[in-house]
Structures are given as C-alpha cells and as structure tokens.
C-alpha cells in the first residue's frame, strides 16, 4: 500500500515486439513488478513515436506498425525503486528507463483495508490546539464558498475534523454588520469554522488558509483532547462486536 508523500515514478519505454527470453519484454517486466509486490503498473500503447533507431513507428503504414512504442509506468517508494532498478536495467536491452520524483496526493482503494494497528485519524488524549476561523458566508474562493473550500482543504491535509457554524449576527474585518435581511435575498451571515488537531498540523493548515482568505480572523487556543476516534465505516460492523474500550 502506497503512502501519501514523496515517491518515485518510473517510466520505461520499449517496443511492443521487443523480446526477452521468448516472450514480450513488457509482459516480462509486468510479471516481474507483480512478483515484487509493486502496488500498480500500467502499460499504454502509443499512437506513434520514434526512438534511438530514428524510425517513426506509426500504425498508418503496415510495415512500420510492428514496432509501436509502449510506455510502462509505475509509482513506488524510493527504497522500492532502488531495489527494482538493477533488475530492470538488466532486462531492458532496447529502450529507455526514466525515474522522476513525484508526490502522492491520494491513495484510495475500494477494497477493505488491511487491519492496521492504528487508524491514522486516531489521536490519543492530550494537549492539542483549537483553531477558530472567522469569515463571512458570502466570501468566495475560486467560485465556491470559502468555508467549503477551507473544509475541503483541511480534509486533504488529513486534519482530524472541522465544523462550520453559521452565526445569526455579527461584524468584524469588513466593517459591516452581517445580518439576515427580511427577504432572505442576500445571505452574508458570519461563519466560524472550528478545527481541533495538533499544533504542528494546524500551523500548516493555518498557512494554507491564510492564503485563501481575503479578510477575517484566525485564533488559536489550547485544548485537551479527551478522546477522538475517527469511525471507519468499513470497520463499524467489527467495532460494534468489540467491547467498548
């Protein structure tokens, strides 16, 4: 299972008909990667291309369509790539291997996850920070409500949780009073987002949010977490059977 963060992307260019021990090279490479437990690999067939031999491979001319280029890609941790590269170097007798630094943003799988000793969202009781973000309901960021954009961003940053509250009256940075008018034609009520997590994660989050906000207020205070367990819907059924901890 890949983790979020920096990783390596390996791209191998070969020809469709390059042979390796009596079978197609790309099939052998795939089998090798599978055997080594690589999390995933994709082979794509190119429409056209040329390589070291300086001959254009194109499906338009039958004689040239036998050497169509293939691109084989996979993403793995730096250590794993380090381990695989010598063998791949050996296998690819005709082609090109390229390694890039990449960042994994999300790894999602629909399958039930392997039982991890600890769920990433689980936090122990102890010191933490509460962040309150004050903005207006009408504030927008790239054509969506700012509070929605902030919650989405927090989710992406793996922050434990966030709650948006709508006030009924208020004033602040903008200097005007946020109040519901009678006809409900224009909503610009005050909005507060409260977020609890460790100081370190919240200061990262605050930096990102400051860039999104035009005006408003961010305030931090110390809190003690009593208990926080992020329920995993897939695990709920199992947890229900377990005695409460």
């Amino acid at each position: 299972m890949l983790k979020k963060g920096s990783a390596k992307k390996v791209t191998i260019y070969v020809n469709e008909d390059t042979q390796h021990h009596l079978s197609a090279l790309y099939q052998d490479i795939l089998a090798f990667l599978l055997h080594k437990g690589v999390s995933g690999a994709t082979v794509t067939r190119a429409l056209a291309g040329f390589g070291a031999h300086q001959v254009i491979h194109t499906p338009n001319i039958e004689a040239l369509s036998e050497h169509l280029p293939l691109r084989l890609e996979f993403i793995e941790s730096a250590e794993k790539v380090e381990e695989l590269l010598p063998t791949l170097y050996d296998m690819v007798t005709d082609g090109l291997i390229e390694v890039q630094d990449t960042t994994i943003v999300k790894v999602a799988t629909r399958e039930k996850q392997q039982a991890e000793p600890k769920h990433p969202h689980e936090r122990k009781a102890g010191k933490a920070k509460l962040m309150r973000i004050f903005t207006g309901e009408a504030d927008r960021w790239n054509d969506e409500p700012l509070y929605e954009a902030i919650v989405k961003r927090l989710r992406m940053m793996d922050i434990a949780g966030a709650t948006v509250y709508r006030g009924i009256l208020g004033y602040g940075a903008k200097g005007h009073t946020h109040k519901q008018n009678l006809l409900h034609t224009k909503r610009d009520l005050p909005v507060m987002i409260s977020v609890v997590d460790s100081e370190e994660k919240l200061s990262q989050a605050a930096e990102a949010i400051e860039g999104m906000m035009q005006d408003g207020l961010i305030a931090f205070s110390d809190v003690d977490i009593v208990r926080l367990v992020h329920a995993n819907p897939l695990k709920d059924a199992e947890n229900a059977k377990l005695p409460a901890r």
Partner: protein
C-alpha cells in the same frame, strides 16, 4: 505560532429571550461592541441547551427561547474595557474568557 498575537476570547452565554431595553440582548451587545470599537463580534444560535435555571431551551411553535452564544476576540485591554459594560447589561447567563493566539487577515481587495 509565528505572526500570532496574544489576545482574549470572550464568550457570553444566555438565551434568545433575554432583553435589554426592549431589544434582544445579543443585538444590544453587538451594538455596544461597535460603539466601543471592539474589533468584531459574532452571535451564534444553539439548537438546544440548558443552563443556570435548569430549564431546557428549545424552539417552540411560537416562542423562541434558544441558547445564544456571543463570541468576541480582541486584545486583552479591549476585552477588559468591554467586560464591565457587558456584565452590567446581562441579568443572567454566563461569561467565560480564554487565552488565544490570533491573527487578523486583511488583504486589500
């Protein structure tokens, strides 16, 4: 936290029914804050709650008696300046303060 100043968070808990000189107490408090040049104030309405009188505050068909929370964040001095006035305005309810680190964001748009 770099770039964050020390400040105070003031929270006032009372109900929608509380009045001050014939207008809702929360409106009167927000106006008072503006008058005293406090940086900002936000009023929240709760869904349900109970307090000192031990009666449950929830919304009825006609009468509104929901819990109200007013949150004000400003410097220590400004909150200190506001507190006596607010104490005088509130007949019942709860006043709580806590320490915060704050940053005001004001970009020219």
């Amino acid at each position: 936290m770099p770039n964050y100043q020390r400040g105070k968070l003031l929270r006032l808990h009372f109900t929608e029914r509380d009045q001050y000189r014939n207008k809702p107490l929360y409106e009167a408090i927000v106006e008072k804050c503006q008058e005293l040049k406090i940086a900002g104030a936000t009023v929240f309405r709760g869904l349900e709650g109970f307090g000192g009188t031990a009666e449950i505050h929830r919304s009825h068909m006609l009468a509104h008696d929901l819990p109200i929370i007013v949150q004000i964040i400003d410097s220590d001095e400004n909150i200190g300046r506001l507190l006596p006035t607010v104490e005088e305005m509130m007949d019942r309810g709860l006043i709580a303060t806590s320490d915060v680190e704050m940053r005001r964001i004001q970009k020219s748009s």
